[in-house]
């Protein structure tokens, strides 16, 4: 039994009380005295030359303070990209400028052209309609392959083409991979689309900026997963504000899923305008606006080939992917289809030779960047789909084919540059077979068929690289930032602890789980520990929360700082008890002298640190506060096996999820309740991608899915109860908690099993179907059954 409130306990979340009673403090709940409101006039064409933006009538409208256009930002830096990818030929990617407000051209529907700041939200919107635009509409490029053809309209006139980069990985392996394909006994090929998604956290983005003219201090409240990163990017690259004059606060944030990692133009605009107008400036996105301004996710078109020998061993893997960047490079966009995708192509398998080619393409669409899983779902989906197809072609059991090719010895260096530290893929597959009751499938299929429904079973494995990331490694790969994390542990005089972390919680429950770690380490009640996050004025630095990195990296920083605290407290305790430091043991909140009954309580030591009357002042500073930065030495590699059972209504093509099971290995688990919740949510989004969600544009670049009327969000009725298990635990070997991260697994691991299951169901009724692109909407499934 884990100790109450310690590591391994399903402690109830402390943050719930404020959320359940309506007392959360989300950014839109923040109103500053004298604030003005901004409304962005956004392009309704996908591609056009801005001939004229005449705001004179708008400026004369009631309540209008000022109308800003691209002209106002000509001298201002563009929205920066945080990652520079180098292509197959050693050249750096093409990197266009991304102005705060469009200048010269508009490049996607939703591109902001002008910003009206007025006394009220309604006045700002009213006045925006009075802005007269003269836009010469240009042909739009939407399809990635068409965008790369000679003579295609260019999204950016100053670039040589719409190709951002042509990346090969590992380029040196290409010839050997091709040779292996030449010798293969069997090759399975699959072409597929990883559908474009919109993250859709339920809280739309908000920014409220303030400027103090007498001190020159700026404060930005924003819906961010990483306020320090926003401070760095916006301060250093856009507005030229040094960090000490810019405070960025991300208070309660209503979900992110990646979309709130990035620095957005609206944040920079509000901060800029607050100074220009000497008024706080607030922007609250509507959901409709979010659809055309939040970065989108996924959008890969892939051809994957798997080579096998005569014994069904995987011998080589080759992929060609087109990855949509949208009209501009969002913060992490170039890294997603490359370093977060190509490096995962080995999956759970000992394929010796792998070559991944990715062409990243500019189109007249909203920028595309990380969305829950970010590159790893795309890798997993294609790999697990092609393995399923290979199993069918070879007439072997898809689970047996996977097991035969599992990596079984660790550490394992893949041919795609990463080294898995631990794992046990047979164990998670065994666990899956048990919790999913795969043995009972045949009987359930019979029962479904008796009701006129087709039943299918789909299974897949996944692996992901989390806990991003070793800074020196990502620096070599083109990251323009480090990916460490920091924490300050402040012990107060009476023993309570305040932890300032650079990780940000927007649903993950850090305030509870991080406190459990401290509680375990020191042996005090978790209630004595407060976790503070989301404010650059508190934490020394932070890279934020994404990539399932918070506990693995942020938690490790907190552990390191707490170790420093304990070391110092041990010295104080030794002094108080006149014992040797080496004899002092910390247990259950007391420092004891080993082998004696002498001890002092945690609170006595902390009090001595702040009231240093009896204290080794010659050797030790008073006070008890420590900071640590933790830079991981490797990624973590959560892995698992998922199973989905579906029913298909053969008359309508409607797919329902009947059972879903997930067996994950996250290494050690701090709060099992929270971990399960993370998996549930990921599965919900993964099923959403597989069955419901798709962001669609027409040929002119008009967004066809601009609201929940057309973008299908998963509802409670679309989803079942899930069987989840994380009892298979191979602890991470290189971080102090032995944790791997759990935030993205569900979204990464679930789409392939859903599609595998639907294909299985349709084939059970004799349909010769090998693949249907996601989302497997009723009309697509029905259409597939007609051919």
């Amino acid at each position: 039994m884990p100790r109450d409130g310690g590591i391994g306990a399903s402690t109830k979340r402390r943050e719930d009380i404020r959320f359940l009673t309506g007392n959360g403090n989300y950014t839109d709940d923040i109103n500053l005295r004298g604030q003005a409101y901004v409304h962005f006039l956004r392009s309704d064409v996908a591609h056009g030359r801005l001939r004229k933006v005449d705001a004179s009538a708008a400026e004369a409208m009631p309540g209008v303070l000022r109308v800003f256009t691209g002209e106002d930002f000509v001298e201002i830096g563009g929205i920066p990209c945080g990652w520079q990818v180098t292509d197959r030929f050693g050249e750096v990617m093409q990197e266009p400028k991304h102005p705060v407000l469009a200048h010269g051209k508009v490049r996607h529907v939703g591109d902001p052209i002008a910003a009206v700041v007025a006394e009220t939200r309604a006045q700002a919107r009213d006045a925006a309609e009075a802005i007269v635009l003269d836009i010469e509409e240009l042909p739009a490029v939407v399809d990635m392959k068409a965008a790369l053809e000679d003579g295609a309209p260019k999204v950016h006139d100053d670039l040589t083409s719409n190709l951002c980069y042509d990346w090969g990985f590992v380029e040196e392996n290409k010839a050997a991979v091709d040779e292996a394909f030449g010798k293969a006994a069997h090759v399975t090929t699959l072409e597929l689309v990883n559908n474009r998604l919109i993250a859709n956290p339920m809280e739309p983005r908000v920014a409220v900026a303030d400027y103090n003219r007498s001190t020159g201090d700026y404060t930005l409240y924003t819906t961010s997963q990483n306020p320090h990163v926003i401070r760095l990017l916006m301060g250093a690259f856009v507005l030229g504000i040094p960090e000490h004059k810019l405070r960025v606060v991300a208070p309660d944030v209503g979900g992110g899923f990646g979309s709130k990692i990035f620095h957005y133009a609206e944040e920079a605009f509000c901060t800029f305008a607050a100074k220009a107008l000497n008024r706080p400036v607030k922007w609250t996105s509507s959901r409709s606006e979010a659809f055309m301004s939040d970065a989108h996710g996924r959008d890969h078109v892939t051809r994957i080939e798997l080579a096998l020998d005569a014994d069904n061993n995987f011998t080589a893997l080759r992929t060609e992917t087109h990855a949509n960047m949208g009209a501009y490079l969002s913060t992490f966009a170039p890294s997603i289809p490359t370093w977060l995708h190509g490096t995962l192509m080995a999956g759970n398998y000992k394929t010796p030779l792998i070559y991944v080619n990715v062409r990243a393409v500019f189109t007249n669409t909203v920028p595309v960047d990380a969305y829950r899983g970010a590159g790893r779902p795309e890798a997993t989906y294609q790999l697990e789909r092609v393995i399923d197809k290979a199993a069918r072609e070879l007439g072997v059991d898809p689970i047996a084919l996977r097991r035969q090719n599992f990596i079984t010895e660790f550490p394992y260096a893949t041919p795609v540059a990463v080294e898995y530290d631990t794992g046990d893929y047979h164990a998670t597959m065994d666990k899956l077979e048990e919790i999913a009751d795969l043995a009972g499938f045949a009987a359930r299929r019979k029962e479904s068929e008796a009701r006129g429904r087709l039943r299918g079973l789909g299974v897949n494995c996944y692996i992901e690289a989390c806990g991003i990331a070793p800074s020196n490694l990502v620096g070599q790969l083109g990251a323009r930032a480090g990916l460490y994390e920091s924490a300050t542990v402040r012990v107060n005089a009476t023993g309570g602890i305040t932890v300032m972390t650079g990780s940000h919680s927007h649903g993950q429950g850090h305030e509870t789980s991080f406190a459990q770690v401290i509680s375990e380490m020191i042996g005090i009640d978790a209630d004595q520990v407060e976790i503070v996050h989301g404010d650059t004025a508190n934490s020394p630095m932070g890279m934020g929360t994404y990539g399932s990195r918070s506990l693995a990296v942020g938690g490790s920083a907190m552990v390191r700082a707490t170790e420093k605290i304990i070391n110092k407290a041990r010295k104080i305790a030794a002094h108080l008890m006149e014992a040797a430091e080496g004899d002092i043991e910390l247990k259950d909140g007391r420092f004891a002298v080993a082998g004696t009954d002498k001890s002092v309580a945690w609170g006595d030591v902390t009090l001595a640190a702040y009231v240093p009357h009896n204290y080794p002042l010659a050797d030790l500073e008073p006070g008890l506060e420590e900071t640590a930065f933790y830079d991981p030495s490797n990624f973590t590699y959560p892995a698992g096996a998922y199973a989905c059972e579906v029913e298909v209504d053969p008359d309508t093509g409607r797919v329902t999820i009947e059972r879903f099971a997930a067996a994950d290995d996250f290494g050690n688990v701090v709060n099992p309740m929270i971990v399960s919740g993370q998996v549930h949510g990921g599965i919900g989004q993964g099923i959403g991608q597989a069955l419901l969600e798709a962001c669609a544009y027409d040929e002119q670049g008009q967004l066809l899915t601009g609201s929940y009327m057309d973008y299908a969000m998963p509802r409670a009725g679309d989803l079942p109860f899930y069987q989840v298990d994380h009892s298979c635990q191979t602890p991470c070997t290189h971080n102090p908690l032995g944790v791997k991260g759990c935030g993205e697994a569900g979204a990464i691991g679930s789409p392939p099993s859903v599609v595998n299951a639907v294909v299985d169901a349709l084939r059970s009724a004799g349909h010769d179907i090998t693949h249907i692109d996601m989302p497997l909407s009723p009309s697509r499934v029905w259409q597939a059954m007609q051919s």
């Binding site: 109830k12 719930d16 309506g22 956290p201 993950q508 949510g681 969000m713 509802r715």
Partner: protein, 161 residues
């Protein structure tokens, strides 16, 4: 500007409004009851659900003027005055029925309306009733479980944690 008056969480409330002022705007901006959220503009997400005269409504799809004289209950009115959580709120905490918390007020208000009409709903009835409440964090598993638990039903057989 016309004035509207209503009873909100048992207390009289009034304020100046425009014709176009939505009930949610009146609650958030005039009364500073910011627990009621706006997550969409097409009346689908349900983050704004409150009770008007005992019925669940989307406060983003009702004008404040239409609530003249009405009894309105928001999430802020659910717990006891001493802070004791309403049984539905307690069940959401016990069963981890919330993560980011943004949809939660609407979920709780919808759940309260459901259990008033149907004190022991089935799983399917709970899922069906949440048609107009979108959650992006939980995959709904623990929301459904929490509502079933709040209705007094045994949820121990629903997947652990």
């Amino acid at each position: 500007m016309p004035e509207v008056s209503m009873t909100v969480n048992g207390k009289p409330a009034k304020g100046q409004i425009e014709g176009r002022t939505l009930l949610v705007e009146f609650l958030r901006e005039s009364l500073s009851l910011t627990g009621t959220h706006m997550g969409c503009d097409t009346s689908q997400c349900g983050a704004c659900v409150v009770h008007v005269n005992g019925r669940a409504v989307k406060s983003c799809t009702m004008f404040a003027a239409e609530a003249e004289g009405a009894e309105v209950t928001t999430i802020e009115g659910m717990a006891e005055p001493d802070g004791t959580l309403h049984p539905i709120q307690a069940a959401f905490q016990d069963h981890h029925g919330l993560q980011c918390g943004f949809c939660t007020p609407g979920m709780v208000m919808s759940a309260a309306a459901l259990l008033k009409d149907n004190p022991t709903p089935t799983e399917a009835e709970v899922r069906d009733y949440l048609e107009g409440n979108i959650c992006r964090c939980t995959g709904y598993h623990n929301i459904v479980k929490a509502i079933l638990a709040a209705s007094g039903q045994d949820v121990s057989r629903i997947a652990a944690e």
